[in-house]
């Protein structure tokens, strides 16, 4: 069912989704779990959000989908412009119309979003019927087509299987089939491969990439795996304790990492190549919402922290004119060499 509305995505270069200044707080918490997050994703491109457990990746994604429990959560500020509308300001009904159609989401654990009492065929058909004026037979044909596209073997048979009859990798394929059934403009995937084995993960990432090429769907992929980011992202946003601390194209962030957290994270991943010595570490741990420091939230763990860092939250800024456009970092001391001198590499 080709979309007749592709033109609405806007001219190339214009973002499909622009999130601006999102702040969220949970009832009774001392600090915002998401604090002034701004992001954007272009049509057909992939934005990866990467960061440590608890840094606010899922909360950000859920808020875009209108799935955040409000209360206890409260959206303090922010706009999420998508196809001319603010997703954060939509009514429940308007969101219901967009969700599963223009924007869809895949979760880490497929069993939480697949209904155990319906067959996978019925579940895919259901989501098509909810948004399209077509008959049951056509919807079932669409379900079959989708299972085939996500490369489920023997799709005719699998159509009548229940979720528990499928393996983890197969369920994740079904989730992807459901999410893409209505040709969404934007797919938000929250750790879609974290629960899977690497050989299955490779198959799923490859599938996502192929489907994206075919359909032109934009993707926001949440992960904590820098390998996955390097593999699939066009742009990256590194989050730390509720804030975006660095963002830019995938090559600029990996080749010219600016934020001490990004640098620490990259150098604490062991490599598949020959061992070169003990791993660099990021000492300490992520602050909890109740012990959130003022100023730069990374300061308690940062080897470069100084007084200036603790005064106020460093804004996301471009480091210098020579830097790749769009590459921004929230660090008082970036680029580090100017203050801390070079090291012979």
């Amino acid at each position: 069912m080709p979309s007749d509305e592709t033109g609405r995505a806007g001219s190339p270069g214009e973002p499909l989704l622009t999130l601006d200044g999102l702040s969220i707080r949970f009832k009774g918490a001392q600090a915002n779990v998401v604090d002034g997050v701004s992001l954007s994703v272009n049509p057909g491109e992939t934005l990866c959000i990467v960061g440590e457990s608890g840094c606010g990746k899922s909360v950000t994604a859920l808020s875009l989908m209108g799935l955040l429990p409000v209360p206890p959560a409260e959206i303090l500020s922010g706009r999420a412009m998508f196809e001319g509308r603010d997703l954060l300001g939509l009514t429940r009904r308007e969101l219901g119309e967009i969700r599963g159609d223009r924007v869809s989401m895949i979760f880490q654990e497929p069993m939480t979003s697949l209904n155990p009492v319906y067959t996978v065929g019925d579940q895919i058909a259901e989501i098509v019927l909810r948004h399209r004026r077509i008959g049951k037979r056509e919807a079932r044909a669409r379900a079959l087509e989708m299972l085939r596209r996500v490369k489920v073997p023997a799709p005719e048979k699998r159509l009548d299987d229940y979720p528990h009859q499928l393996s983890g990798g197969m369920r994740q394929r079904v989730m992807i089939a459901m999410a893409l059934a209505n040709d969404p403009q934007l797919l938000i995937a929250d750790e879609p491969t974290t629960a899977l084995d690497v050989t299955i993960q490779a198959q799923i990432l490859d599938l996502i990439r192929t489907l994206q090429d075919e359909s032109g769907t934009a993707l926001i992929l949440i992960t904590h795996d820098l390998g996955v980011v390097a593999e699939i992202a066009d742009t990256v946003a590194v989050m730390y304790a509720g804030r975006v601390v660095e963002q830019g194209s995938v090559t600029s962030v990996f080749d010219d990492p600016q934020h001490p957290y990004t640098i620490g994270l990259m150098s604490s991943v062991p490599s598949l190549g020959k061992r070169t010595g003990s791993l660099a570490t990021v000492p300490g741990m992520v602050p909890t919402v109740d012990t959130m420091p003022d100023g730069c939230r990374f300061a308690p763990r940062c080897p470069f922290a100084s007084e200036a860092c603790r005064r106020e939250a460093p804004p996301l800024r471009r480091v210098d004119a020579s830097q790749a456009p769009g590459h921004r970092v929230a660090c008082v001391h970036a680029p580090l060499e100017t203050t801390f001198g070079g090291v012979a590499a």
Binding site: I200, A202, D255, K274, A280, L336
Partner: protein, 378 residues
Amino acid sequence: MNGKGHDNAGAGAPARGDYVLEARDLARRFKVGSSFLATPQVVRAVDGVSLSVRRGETLAIVGESGCGKSTLARLLLRLLRPSSGQVLYDGTDISDLPEREMRRLRKDLQFIFQDPFSSLNPRMTVGAIVEEPMRVHGIGTRASRPQQVADLLRRVGLRAEYANRYPHEFSGGQRQRIGIARALACGPRVLIGDEPVSALDVSIQAQVINLLEELKAEFDLTLVLIAHDLAVIRHMSDRVAVMYLGEIVEQGETDTLYDAPLHPYTQALMRAIPIPSPRSRKVDSGLTGDVPSPLAPPPGCRFHTRCPLASGICKVERPPLATVAHDRMVACHHWEEARAGIPSAAETPAHSHAAERRFALYREHSLAGTAAASDRTP
């Protein structure tokens, strides 16, 4: 500093006495299935595994979920009894040792669990958790033990005052440190870690990996490491055994195995790892299909349903784990052909010059600040 670089790692076949732990044709089956089924089904979780752990080495066991890694680890420590086969500790068969005698050996053989959340008793203080094995094995006295607990906590990077707190007050990384302190409490000789860092975030994972390496050297331990992260394994281990559906399919010295994996499954695993560098996009295991159910493993070679090299013989005849070079074993009918398809982990591209320079700067400054940081952070 760690197991790597122990010069006995690859030098000549070790003498009998150099093995701390040995598995001989070890198997463990589980009956599963609902009570409604007339005939319960059988999972061959570990099926004919032979393996030797050398004194002082770090041996890693790698494989995907459900392949039997945890079962093998539990068998090696006799936390589970084998259905058949033997486990030897210091050359003595412990497979049938009565529990009473086993208890003495437990002092030597300790386990670190994967899940730092469920493996610590929530009703015990951290101090009591770490002290328990000392009490059980009669180490120290009631008066001396609190001091020993405090020393251990400090050694794993926690504050001594934490002894009075409860596990729920700690993060995943801290709980894993508590688990490690407990495992060290009675002076073990062998430590088996079942995915000891898998549940942790990267930045915390690196802290725990470095800690394990330091402790290994300091306490003269032999380490058996269960993991599914191939990069962590390369970093930490001297030798590697690769498992698939209850069997070992390849085994060898770490660098050799990574530089030239011979089994098609090992090759697929290597290819599937996403490399954290956007210059090397390639992830594609070259495999299709899912991991078969361990309830109904394929006949012949268990990998044949997914193997790009499978031929007629693979479907009917189980390939034995055969020695193909010094300290190198492979279970594949066509390993010589497979050799042509070796992917190379060594191709991992270096980081950009700018990135390397910042990594160096980061290291220099974090070393400079280590003393201050360890005061400030638990």
